[in-house]
């Protein structure tokens, strides 16, 4: 168990001399606290697996350092690092029984037999694998195999962190939910630092206390699910998280006002004068924009379609060329062509070159 610090850590598969833009992981400095449940969230190819493999030592970084409790472990091999990792596809030792599979990491480290047995029983119990302990592991279903992989990741109580690389990819959706709750419960029970890589926002938001969103090799924001939702620091976080994602539209912003299509929207904060030449956009989540009957004071938009999600309806509309989503208030009957949009000023954010601009209250 340890605090993990990344210091100016970067990696390029093309070597250290590759151009900075081609790095799979651009320099990142951050701290993972002991006992935390973290999710690394981002689309495929954003560098999240690279970051995970750097921490576990499967990949050696081109630059920077990794510290476990302040000690530099960058040059150490995976075996010496005291880390556990669960991979996307189940890794099972074919010739061993389920129990022997679970005991393998402990046996390799010379743990006394009595302690191994006790720990294997405990983990098997937590994962509901007890009835299968004596069975050959090859003859089980994919999700049972992945549970064994998870078990092998969790069986060592002294690891600095347990890393999960999209571990639920091969699992049926229904079981996915169960296993994820199980992992969450295990996290509370075992007091291990867990880092969970996924491209599925539901998975990340339900599992983690802290979600680290990555985009194009960079960490764009790290925060609680609520922070990511309420105050995305990057337009990418805005539209990657949330369903539907945040509306991002180009606007002209000065002082307390934003202008879209010549129409003025009031802002909660004062943005003064924004830098020249920057690409200014405003972002607002569909949850904080209501459609209403067209009126002179409202920004008008053309209806394209209505998405009925059951407990809530979203209208997909167009403002000029820009696509936009907005909530349909309960009981509101949507007209065929044009509607007006009502913004909640407290939740309208301003972005300059995709980064959040903090206004003055």
């Amino acid at each position: 168990m340890a605090r993990i610090d990344l210091v100016d850590l970067a990696h390029s598969y093309g070597g250290n001399d590759a151009p900075a833009e081609s790095f799979a992981l651009k320099p990142v400095t951050m701290t993972w606290r002991q006992g935390g449940a973290y999710a690394l969230l981002g689309p495929s190819g954003c560098g999240k697996t690279t970051l995970l493999n750097l921490i576990s030592g499967i990949v050696t970084p081109s630059r920077g350092k990794i510290l476990f409790d302040g000690a530099d472990i960058t040059p150490l091999s995976t075996r010496e690092r005291n880390i556990a990792q669960v991979f996307q596809f189940p890794v099972i030792y074919d010739t061993m029984t389920v129990g022997e599979n679970l005991a393998f990491p402990l046996k390799n480290r010379g743990v006394p037999k009595a302690r191994i047995d006790a720990r294997v029983r405990e983990i098997a119990n937590l994962l509901d694998l007890t009835p299968w302990l004596g069975r050959k592991a090859t003859r089980l279903t994919a999700d049972a195999k992945q549970k064994i992989s998870l078990g092998r990741g969790l069986v060592r109580s002294d690891v600095a962190a347990v890393l999960f690389d999209e571990p639920l990819t091969v699992i049926d959706p229904e079981l996915k939910w169960q296993l994820r709750s199980k992992l969450k419960a295990l996290h509370r029970e075992l007091d291990l630092t867990m880092i969970y890589v996924t491209h599925d926002q539901t998975e990340a938001l339900t599992f983690a206390d802290t979600v680290v969103v990555m985009h194009d090799g960079r960490v764009v924001q790290s925060g609680t699910p609520a922070e990511l939702f309420d105050k995305p620091e990057h337009t990418f976080v805005g539209y990657f998280i949330g369903s539907p994602g945040m509306n991002i539209v180009p606007a002209r912003v000065s002082g307390h006002e934003a202008r879209i299509d010549g129409h003025v929207i009031g802002l909660h904060r004062n943005y003064g004068v924004l830098p020249d030449g920057a690409n200014i956009e405003i972002g607002v989540r569909p949850e904080f924009v209501n459609v209403a009957a067209p009126a002179s004071g409202l920004l008008s938009a053309t209806i394209e379609r209505i998405d009925d999600l059951g407990r809530v309806r979203f209208a997909r509309v167009r403002i000029g060329e820009a696509k936009f989503a907005a909530r349909v208030p309960p009981g509101f009957s949507v007209p065929d062509n044009d509607v007006g949009l009502v913004f909640d000023p407290a939740h309208v954010h301003v972005y300059a070159d995709s980064r959040l601009v903090e206004g003055v209250a």
């Binding site: 089980l140 999700d143 049972a144």
Partner: protein, 300 residues
């Protein structure tokens, strides 16, 4: 639903039937016919029933003695070369590079012995081992080792075995290499994280994953070594004495040397039967080893 019946379809099968008849069935039946008869030349044949088969299995007769002795030598030879080539092939495959241009270089070098015609392999080793002009024979003798495969039984066996190892270990190595390459990286990474030693990785991952190719390798090497003829015939001619006379060499001696067609036919049928049985055993074992189906249960 009505089936269309068209007897003309038989004509499409006819060519294959004729080819198989002339290339396999008729020659085999001729051999069966010969095995029941004795001949003294001049195309004169005398009925002998199952007499030759009885003699074959009776070590006190000349035919039975020769057959069983050569069969024993053959099995010993197969056992020795399997015991050497399989572990050696695995070690070679494990120590081969996994990527880069060296992979291609290694594969080409390994494939070279496999591409050499068998009688050329025999000739190479026959000259290589000669005490007067052969590099190996001359070197060994000048080191004070009295090595002569023409007069010493042990030296003859050693030469034939080393020759076979040189010729065929590559095949085992290439098959094992293919098996190793098919193991996903995640297995090695997981083993690293689980703290597995080199030996544990071999035992827990590599060996089980090579299971199927190893069975194929053992099967191929057993069949080939059991039917071996050309190389020992060229190097030792079956000698000294009869010490390296394997079943196939004995068979040729009887059939073409003594022109005892009846005895040779009976021997070749039994020989063929042994090979068929061994093939069947291997095939059964292999298909059973591959028939691992995940059982549906509620472990999840």
């Amino acid at each position: 639903m009505d089936k269309t019946i068209n007897q003309k379809a038989w004509f499409l099968v006819l060519p294959v039937f004729l080819v198989v008849a002339f290339s396999a069935i008729l020659p085999l039946m001729t051999v069966v016919n010969y095995s029941m008869q004795d001949t003294f030349g001049n195309n004169q044949f005398f009925w002998n029933g199952v007499g030759w088969f009885k003699e074959l299995l009776d070590p006190s007769t000349d035919l039975g003695g020769r057959f069983l002795a050569s069969l024993g030598r053959n099995l010993l030879f197969s056992a020795i070369i399997l015991a050497i080539e399989v572990p050696l092939g695995i070690v070679v495959a494990l120590s081969m590079p996994r990527q880069g241009w060296t992979v291609a270089a290694c594969l080409v070098i390994l494939a070279l012995p496999l591409l050499i015609p068998w009688n050329v392999v025999g000739t190479i080793w026959q000259i290589f081992g000669r005490p007067d002009i052969g590099l190996l024979g001359y070197t060994l003798n000048s080191l004070g080792i009295d090595y002569n495969y023409v007069s010493n039984e042990f030296d003859a066996w050693a030469t034939v075995i080393v020759m076979d190892v040189w010729h065929w270990t590559s095949l085992v190595a290439l098959l094992c290499y293919a098996g190793l390459k098919s193991i996903p990286d995640a297995y090695y990474q997981a083993a690293q994280i689980d703290g597995a030693s080199r030996w544990a990785v071999f035992k827990a991952i590599q060996l089980p994953k090579m299971n199927r190719v190893l069975l194929i390798a053992v099967l191929l090497r057993f069949m080939d070594s059991f039917m071996i003829y050309t190389e020992p015939f060229v190097v030792t001619g079956g000698g000294p004495g009869n010490s390296t006379t394997f079943v196939s060499i004995e068979l040729v001696k009887i059939a073409l040397g003594q022109f005892d067609l009846g005895k040779a036919a009976a021997l070749s049928l039994v020989y063929n039967l042994i090979i068929l049985i061994v093939c069947w055993i291997f095939y059964t074992v292999m298909t059973n080893a591959g028939a691992e189906r995940p059982e549906k249960q509620g472990a999840a």
